[in-house]
């Protein structure tokens, strides 16, 4: 038992020693403050309608020295909401997010764009209703600091992208009920591990 503990300690020690060499910081996304939203035009642009997903989880890694990093997030498709229960059921159904078959959406990137120390974008892949397509995220307001309450290092920002939902095969309601262009907005906060 004590030998086992020694091995664990050694491994941990190695990990700590190894850390400066890699210089990679791992951040866990705060789901409460990182809820993705979308905007879509209704009736050929008469108004812009909003919806959101209540649950997103994932990790961001940053290697500031090498100006590299990754994003790996998962959105629970069943947490979609549009403020109308009837519409929510339609969105969860097979013409739209088909959550019975595709319960999650993912965005993965290992190609973060930096401007100095700030993340300003990411090239990655969005998987939605079983289809994976490249998506370019733009990141604005990237800021890092310390949470004043729990004193933990935290980074935040806002990621946006505009996609065509038909690229993923989501064609219901086109073009009158709702537009093909969908703007995705992700406010993000992530705490350093």
């Amino acid at each position: 038992m004590s030998r086992c503990l020694a091995v664990v300690s050694l491994t941990l020690g190695l990990a700590v020693v190894a850390d400066p060499a890699v210089a990679e910081d791992v951040y866990n996304i705060d789901p409460i403050h990182s809820q993705p939203m979308y905007e879509i035009q209704h009736m050929k642009g008469i108004s812009v309608q909003h919806g959101s997903f209540a649950k997103l989880t994932g990790k961001v890694t940053l290697d500031r020295a090498a100006k590299k990093g990754t994003i790996d997030v998962t959105i629970d498709a069943s947490t979609i909401r549009s403020h109308d229960a009837r519409l929510d059921n339609i969105l969860k159904g097979e013409d739209y997010f088909n959550i019975a078959k595709y319960p999650t959406m993912t965005f993965k990137s290992s190609d973060l764009k930096f401007d100095g120390d700030n993340v300003v974008g990411a090239e990655g892949e969005l998987t939605m209703i079983g289809v994976t397509k490249p998506v370019t995220l733009k990141m604005t307001r990237f800021t890092c600091g310390e949470n004043p309450f729990n004193k933990k290092p935290v980074c935040g920002g806002e990621a946006t992208a505009t996609i065509k939902r038909s690229d993923w095969g989501m064609k219901a309601g086109l073009p009158v009920s709702s537009s093909d262009d969908v703007k995705l907005i992700l406010p993000i906060e992530a705490y350093k591990e």
Binding site: S47, H50, H83, T143, C155, G156, P187
Partner: protein, 188 residues
């Protein structure tokens, strides 16, 4: 009976031709009020109200009109049940005491036939303050489903929540709040 009907028709005709005022009822299903506020200087957090009702009148000839909308304060959502309970509580919207948020204006601003703004009063937590609204993307069309004339727009305003007595958790949650209403209204 026939005379009364005739009088009623005459009155309706007079109302239509005399005032040229169109009345639109807000479509609650396609009208969502969202707000965003800065958190810790790190990110913009959103919330929204699922239930907004009301009436918009337009007199395009006279370039006049009015807005009277009520937002159900208890319909606030933020994606986190714990946070929604806080928002409904007395430190924030205090929905038990102030169930509705109202915006009223009889000063619509026009640019040609398009509404581009409004000056009015926002009542929140029982406090009424003047608020200037910007209206973008105002357009009207025949609703494809109901075949009735409908108008839509994106309405925005900026307020300081402290002016309405909502000072909880400042400054970690910002004082400046951006409000955006995606609105569709169908002519009556």
């Amino acid at each position: 009976m026939r005379a009364r009907l005739f009088a009623a028709m005459l009155l309706m005709a007079f109302a239509v031709s005399g005032f040229a005022q169109e009345t639109y009822r807000v479509d609650p299903l396609h009208t969502t009020t969202t707000f965003s506020v800065n958190h810790l200087g790190l990110s913009m957090q959103r919330g929204s109200f699922g239930k907004t009702t009301g009436t918009v009148t337009l007199d395009r000839a006279a370039k006049k009109g009015s807005i009277d909308v009520a937002i159900d304060a208890a319909s606030v959502t933020s994606g986190s049940p714990a946070r929604e309970n806080l928002l409904r509580g007395e430190d924030y919207f205090d929905v038990a005491q102030f169930p509705t948020i109202n915006f009223k204006s009889d000063k619509l601003k026009f640019n040609g036939d398009a509404v581009v703004g409004a000056e009015g009063e926002l009542t929140m937590r029982g406090v009424t303050k003047p608020v200037v609204l910007s209206v973008a993307d105002f357009k009207c069309a025949i609703h494809p489903a109901t075949k009735k004339p409908a108008c839509g727009a994106e309405v925005t305003a900026n307020v300081k929540r402290s002016e309405f007595g909502m000072i909880k958790n400042q400054p970690s949650t910002g004082d400046d709040v951006s409000i955006a209403i995606a609105i569709e209204a169908i002519q009556q």
